[in-house]
């Protein structure tokens, strides 16, 4: 879980943002982007020395001015639960995938010739394949000829 993904997870949670200049902004995270620019709502701004306060309904903070963000403990727990659920899904998915690929291998082994035939048929449109096709068809003719010979 990257720091910025964690920030995204913290959306709608209360947080404290301290800027490089020492001002702090307390509010609920509305949105954020990959530059760490953020939107807050119901904000209380505190001056560097902590003796003046401003209240504002919303604010936008440019990411590059941020020193750090403090988020509630439970956000990291949410992430852990998410990650666990995801890894559970992934293992199940992998199990299925292994089962499927085993089936596919079996299928491929039994039908290899047919596959090759189909593929060369599909490729016939390209100019580079002409020689190959001639070769193949030539071989086919020869086989045919051989068969004819055998029949005689």
């Amino acid at each position: 879980m990257l720091p910025l993904s964690l920030l995204k997870t913290a959306q709608s949670h209360p947080m404290l943002v301290e800027l490089k200049n020492g001002e702090t902004y307390n509010g609920h995270l509305v949105s954020c982007d990959s530059w760490m620019n953020i939107n807050l709502r119901d904000v209380i701004c505190t001056s560097k020395d902590g003796d003046r306060f401003w209240r504002m309904p919303e604010c936008y903070i440019r990411g590059s001015t941020i020193k750090y963000l403090r988020i509630p403990d439970e956000v990291i727990d949410m992430v852990k639960e998410d990650a666990q659920a995801k890894s559970r899904n992934r293992t199940e998915l992998n199990k299925n995938r292994v089962a499927n690929s085993a089936q596919n291998q079996r299928a491929a082994r039994s039908g290899n010739r047919n596959n090759f035939g189909n593929r060369s048929g599909q490729l016939s449109g390209g100019p580079g394949n002409n020689t190959q096709r001639v070769g193949v068809s030539g071989q086919g003719n020869r086989l045919l000829a051989q068969n004819n010979k055998n029949r005689k």
Partner: protein, 137 residues
């Protein structure tokens, strides 16, 4: 095996994940917590963080919780040795006491600064206190 590792020989933080780290910020603050995540900008996620304030040979810890630190504000970080942590040559005092000590230290520094600029002024050197960044003194 090393040839396959794209991070071999480069400075990186991935090995520090989940360890107890001390992080020094550019504003001089010291944070101690468990590193949970990093990215290519050295943005950090610290969990169970405390802010440790040192004054002389005393220190105090303030619990702070979870931090997302923007990488450019980090000066250095390093793993805390759990064994050496037990026998620090420092004395832990309460939060109130350390904040008080910090305030007194700050006042002393300001007083010293005032005297220095006064002395410089008397010798014909005008010093603009606003322009002096205390971080680099």
């Amino acid at each position: 095996m090393d040839d396959l590792n794209p991070l071999a020989g480069t400075a990186h933080l991935l090995e520090e994940v989940d360890k107890k780290l001390m992080v020094l910020l550019r504003d001089g603050r010291t944070l101690i917590g468990y590193l949970r995540s990093v990215d290519q900008f050295a943005n950090l996620v610290l969990q169970r963080t405390i802010e440790r304030i040192h004054v002389g040979n005393q220190y105090g810890d303030i619990p702070r919780g979870v931090f997302i630190i923007r990488g450019e504000n980090v000066v250095l970080l390093g793993e805390i040795d759990r064994e050496k942590e037990q026998k620090l040559p420092l004395k832990e005092i309460s939060v109130d006491e350390i904040l008080d000590a910090q305030r007194r230290e700050q006042e002393q520094r300001q007083e010293k600064h005032r005297l220095v600029s006064k002395a410089l002024k008397e010798r014909g050197l005008a010093v603009n206190a606003e322009l002096i960044n205390e971080d680099f003194c």
